[in-house]
Amino acid sequence: MADRSLLPAVFWCLLALGAALLFGLRLAELWPAGVADTDGVDLSRVILIYSFLPRAAVAIVAGAALGLSGLLLQRILRNPLAEPSTLGISASAQLAMATATIYAPALMEFSIGTVAFAGGIAAVALILALTWRRGLEPVAVVLAGMMVALTANSLSAALILANGDYLFSLFIWGGGSLVQQGWGPTISIGLRLVLGLAAAGLVLRPLAILGLDDQSARNLGVAVHASRFAVITLAVWIATTVTAEVGIIGFIGLAAPALATLSGARSLRQKLIATPLTGAILLWLTDGLVQLFSGPEGERVPTGAATALLGGPLLLWLLPRLKMFEWPSVSASTAAVNRAPRPWLVIMLIVLSMLLATGVALLVGIGPQGWQIASGEAFNDLLDWRAPRVAVAAATGGMLGAAGVVIQRVAANPLASPEILGVGAGAGAGMALALVFGATLGFQLAASAAGALTVLGVILWIGARAGFGPERLLFAGIAMNALCSAVLTAMIALGNQQSYTLLRWLSGSTNDAVAFDGLISVVGLVLLTGPLFLATRWLDLLPLGSPTARALGLHVGYSRLVVIVLAALMTALTANYVGPLSFVGLIAPHLARLLGLGRARQQLAGAIALGALLMVLSDWLSRMVAFPYQLPLGIFASLIGGPYLIYLLGKGVQRHG
């Protein structure tokens, strides 16, 4: 056994060696061999001292800092998925910086770090406030965090779209860059890292106890809330400093603690040492590879996105291999919700609201003279424009709702959805590859369907190997999502005509929908959700797990395959129209369940109608709020659905005491 436990250490040493090798190669290239230009200034030495060396240093300290921040957050919130990205801390810091840049430039001149910290701490405060009544229960916290992250991302995108030179900003926005021209950022991040490590060392005992539940911690005499807030603030401060100095570096905060644990770090003390080291090695190696593949005309992939290209497969590979997680299961306490006494009445009410929203979207709009209700000839005229959009919105919303129900039931996981598991992003990656070959629309659709199916297949396969552990499935999903998003970011960074197409696709808009699109999506809705209603027995049985389902006479493999293919096709079709980021596929099934629609048939019908309602409303709002400037669709879907979902989650627990 002794040699087996050494394996991870050897593995990480090899990775570190690889990073050092890349560093050494570049160093040898740059080593000033007495080259002096005519002014007598040794410019290669300037590059070495002010650019090359600080870049390696900042990669190491930023990786370590993000790892530490993730570890602290996971510890305090007792949540294996908590980290700066999933909690929306980085995204909110970015939003705060984007907002200040446009509306309060003086603040940015004063201190970028303070602005970023304010954004990050606001995100955490919001999440804690929303989930306090649930006792910071892991699922609720991560749901709230993802809502905050998504909303912040959409708002940043809207700000950039409405105010700036978006191609350039989006490149930097989409992924942090470690390019350095001095030692400032290294010192700034390094200082926080040292302070953070020292503080974590000081509160090691209380920190270990905080990993227990509240009652035990209180019995042991720890001031639970005060210590929690102090450590959370510290973690946010570390993470937002990184965001302010180098931008968003995804994935390290999630992957480093998990990989450290997977590699055998058991005690908190070991983790406090192993996690920052893991983060540092990951980021250093990633950045070395990014530099290796960059030409004189710039880098092909921003380092902040490339972390997913390296860390994603690593996590996917390690995930099924090792036992992990002493945390309570994330799905433990979401099951019980009161069933509605008259479910079909609830569904009728949802359908009515949906029809009402459709009516508003068709009739009410803003013209040159302000608000107006279209009538007579003007109505007929505008109907040409509005009807296809509303049809596309309603049909895509419905399909996403249905896909969400299928995925949540097959995975037996309340957090699973086409958006979170990266199925939408997979469709996008498929489309991106099709675009490279200048393909036709039909080919693009086929490629995005293939992408969606591949992602969903891989995740469920990994999940199945690990016995469908809900955390593992989510980890795999987040890794796949990050991986596909990195492919998209890399494509967008190329800055050509295809990049433009992808950018438009990412932000999601029904603006260009014509009657044909409306027809296609409605036909898609009918053809793809219709069979699901015939298969509701499968959907009722699949969440019970394979043995039970099989005992009840279900052909598990076959039925699972059929519904998964349907879900992937629906996700690909919708992603083609409204982008991958709508979150309707997550929200609608939850809302349906929390409204008391428990059985598969009812939940499916409810989720389709709710999805359509959400999407029609979001589409209409995205056109009206900043008229004539159109905002991304995803903003309003998450702004309407998110808070309501959190409210219902809280209510559900109270009802059961």
Binding site: V46, F168, I172, E299, D384, Q497
Partner: protein, 293 residues
């Protein structure tokens, strides 16, 4: 020289008379809407004021010239303009460039659509802008104005060329800053690169570029040509100028130490002839304002 003078005099007289020409003389002219900024510039340059255009808030801040009259309706984002509003305004002709070809099916339901090239991969933007301005002039019955504008632009560039002759021995980096660590370089295939050539100046950025501007590059790439002038095209994001002051590598660049850095007001990066003229004018003024030229 005499020819230049004559045509210039004629031209100036014509240009100053333009705003006062009676409306009726263009009564038959179609009303136009533009989706592309470069074509908005071109239309305004030849005196054809569109009824609607896109992202005017941003245009007035970033492109600045030509001035957009307040009568022009704002259609919203270039990538997703409000088709409903455009439908209500109902122009006779809609101008797009290749970028917006995907909007054609929707736009064609409103009015006739004219695609004029503004930027195309592998083509020099300056001659392309000349071509499109002439084509637009022809379509709108403003061929004379279009030809005159081309001539006026050439004249301005020739003037700027002689004013800049004293610095022509040095290469020029024309860049825009994304933050205090990254810049985007305008290569030989960008409008600014084309104008540099016409001004008799060498481009410091010799690498290939994509869509006329490279992906963001670290400031350290400017080390390549220590003798160069660095021309920074606005707008400058907030915090960047302080960031540059604190940037050790930036301050170590010979161009910076020796004061060969020029900050220009915002100019449309993907503009047509008005942007080219604005760039030449601002660049000349910027160089002349330096202590030692």
């Amino acid at each position: 020289m005499t020819v230049g003078h004559l045509s210039r005099r004629k031209l100036l007289a014509f240009a100053s008379a333009l705003p006062f020409l009676p409306e009726t003389s263009h009564a038959a002219e179609p009303t136009i809407a533009t989706i592309d900024w470069g074509l908005l510039e071109a239309a305004l340059a030849i005196g054809a004021v569109p009824v609607a255009a896109t992202e005017l808030l941003q245009f007035r801040k970033i492109a600045v010239e030509p001035t957009v009259p307040s009568t022009v309706a704002d259609l919203g984002l270039r990538g997703s303009p409000s088709f409903e509003l455009l439908r209500i305004i109902k122009p006779d002709l809609i101008l797009i460039s290749g970028f917006y070809e995907y909007q054609r099916p929707s736009l064609e339901r409103i009015a006739q659509v004219l695609t004029l090239p503004v930027y195309e991969a592998g083509k020099s933007p300056y001659p392309l802008a000349q071509h499109s301005t002439l084509a637009l002039g022809e379509r709108l019955g403003r061929s004379t104005q279009a030809r005159d504008y081309l001539e006026q632009t050439e004249y301005d560039l020739a003037n700027a060329r002689s004013a800049l002759a004293k610095v022509a021995h040095r290469p020029f980096f024309v860049i825009s800053l994304g933050d205090s660590r990254h810049f985007r370089a305008f290569g030989a295939d960008a409008m600014f690169g084309n104008v540099l050539t016409r001004l008799g100046l060498g481009n410091g950025w010799q690498e290939t570029t994509n869509y006329s501007a490279a992906a963001p590059v670290g400031i350290e790439a400017l080390v390549q040509a220590p003798e160069a002038f660095i021309v920074i095209v606005g707008p400058l994001p907030p915090g960047v100028s302080r960031g540059l002051d604190e940037n050790a590598l930036w301050n170590a660049l010979p161009s910076v130490r020796e004061g060969r850095v020029v900050f220009l007001d915002p100019i449309n990066h993907f503009g047509t002839l008005p942007s080219a003229r604005r760039f030449a004018r601002l660049l000349t003024a910027g160089i002349e304002s330096l202590p030692h030229g």
